[in-house]
Symmetry: C2
């Protein structure tokens, strides 16, 4: 009869002696992090705050064997994207990290804490465990409502508003397909599989960018807080596109009690995205609508307003009365299916 | 080339159509839960609050195939125990739930929300994902500092104080060994393996209680808030015993900059625990010191103070100057090794 999941260790010394305590000591001595070390982090936030939690699972959200530093930055980015969609300023992170024996904790944690620092986030607590099946990390982020800001809500869209996207869609899903087809991340760059050697340099560049986009999404934090400050009653709805534009637009419309029409030809695409899709026999519109993991903001604004050009946002349609969600394509207006990724179905 | 980890679904209807949206709709319509449904939960807490995160992994923290309702209550309990150790009143829970195909989400979520309700906790957000290897759930809990309370800190122990435990130690580790040896939880009760049929009824009862204790720990929330209110400057240190009494006592002493002597004969034991250990050839003192997952509070108080009898606490030693952690056993005083479970080593 043996105990499940843990192993007894006995060592000596004034500092923490278990591997978990040693790692906490390392984090505290190297990065400061005064909130680590108790049973829970003690916080005080005088302003309203938003909380989100999201995980990254090896072999599910990213390929097995991925550099732990890349996985940890992706974990932070997908959570930051949720805060961006609320108009929040990120403040604190909590990390539950489960990994197989032999895992390089310091590489993962060092990259996580460094990426947190770039966004003004402090790692305030966490939990370490063993998972024999691979890296499985969950982060919880707290972000505060900026001075003069309001929360961005999914329920904020109103008929007559224009629908906007903060960046291109479909490229991340294409990157996921390239990773599944043999592309890899090695020593800080994307390596394409031999099957893609015949592509021209331009398309190979587009393929590498798609993989990078998938592995290293950029949360639209500045846009989120800009929208929140703008919206003092004047703005619309917002959410981040993680499960596919079509599904997330359906969510926006459902929560807001309205409909929408999307213009297919207006959808922003990454450079050479369409040419690369054609070459690889993917339907670019299907990837754009149902690919998911784009981590751009989908939001609405009154027709007379537009975000500053620096955010690179594109108007892609309009919000309407009723509750039909449609797409205008080649002059025809068709129902837009609630297509997207479903986290529950295997 | 196929996409990793998710599957496209297309259905129709006014409510959420993906499995994730349907579950959210079910939770909102059945349990209220007004904070669910946006990219993040919007909160405001005017009082200081504590945040903790902890996970439960199938095959690591509990046996494969365990009733999802039992797993979900255990997940909540281990997190509540961290809040108890801070003297916090639990308020909000966030849940990242990853499960294999075919999992009974509603059983897990229903039990989680119901158990939350018993402790005044609101499920405020979460994330659903697929993990082909089994249930892997992480909860993050927020708890507020009670009116008139102070935080209980690991660093609060002082020489001259007495050391206390809020309940018996070792029983949970014995339960884990019984589970690994074939005991099971079935339809709300513990079923012992045939190998234990020869035990007397009293020992079989003790074995069933050990398994229950392991699977369904009871967080010491009322004691935690009592200590926090008491301690307005007068109290000591506290933490919850999750990795074994010896290791957690070392942590208390290290954070407080002091030493301690534990009295072996004072350690509280569950009824018939010692007899059952003898029968099954386990060392009861080793289980008590290094078993772990007891989820009792280890705390210190000035010698003139004692907790009310209703909390069932037992004085088990004293805090001393220096930084030696010792155990008094059979009249001899020996160094107490920093023994316990290490979450990093497989």
């Amino acid at each position: 009869v043996s105990t499940v999941g843990k192993r007894r260790t006995s060592t000596a010394g004034k500092r923490g002696t278990g591997g978990e305590d040693r790692l906490t000591d390392w984090l505290r001595s190297r990065y400061g992090l005064p909130l680590l070390g108790d049973d829970a982090a003690m916080l005080r936030l005088r302003r309203p705050f938003a909380v989100t939690t999201d995980g990254q699972i090896e072999g599910v959200h990213f390929p097995a064997g991925l550099d732990p530093a890349v996985a940890s930055r992706r974990l932070l980015a997908v959570n930051l994207s949720d805060l961006a969609a609320m108009g929040a300023e990120p403040r604190y992170a909590f990390l539950a990290l489960a990994v197989p024996p032999g895992f390089d904790h310091r590489r993962f944690l060092g990259a996580f804490v460094t990426a947190c620092g770039r966004h003004g986030v402090e790692l305030a607590g966490g939990d370490l465990a063993r998972d024999p099946h691979g890296l499985h990390a969950v982060a919880t982020l707290l972000g505060t409502l900026p001075e003069g800001g309001r929360w961005l809500r999914r329920a904020g869209a109103r008929p007559g508003q224009r629908l906007w996207l903060s960046g291109s869609v479909g490229e991340s899903a294409l990157g996921a397909r390239l990773l599944a087809g043999g592309a890899a991340w090695s020593s800080g760059r994307v390596v394409l599989p031999p099957a893609l050697a015949a592509l021209g340099a331009g398309l190979r560049g587009a393929a590498r960018r798609a993989v990078s986009r998938h592995l290293a999404p950029e949360p639209a934090l500045a846009l989120g807080t800009w929208l929140g400050r703008l919206q003092g009653g004047r703005g619309g709805g917002a959410l981040d596109v993680s499960d596919g534009l079509a599904r997330d637009l359906h969510r926006l419309c459902r929560e807001s009690g309205c409909g929408a029409t999307l213009e297919a030809k207006a959808l922003p695409q990454a450079p050479r995205f369409e040419a690369l899709c054609e070459e690889l026999r993917f339907d670019p519109l299907e990837l754009a609508l149902a690919g998911g993991e784009d981590y751009v903001l989908l939001f609405t604004l009154p027709a007379r307003l537009a975000p500053p050009a620096e955010f690179g946002c594109i108007a892609i349609g309009r919000i309407e009365k009723g509750n039909d969600v449609k797409i205008e394509r080649d002059g025809a207006i068709l129902p837009l299916a609630d297509l997207g990724w479903d986290h529950l179905e295997g």
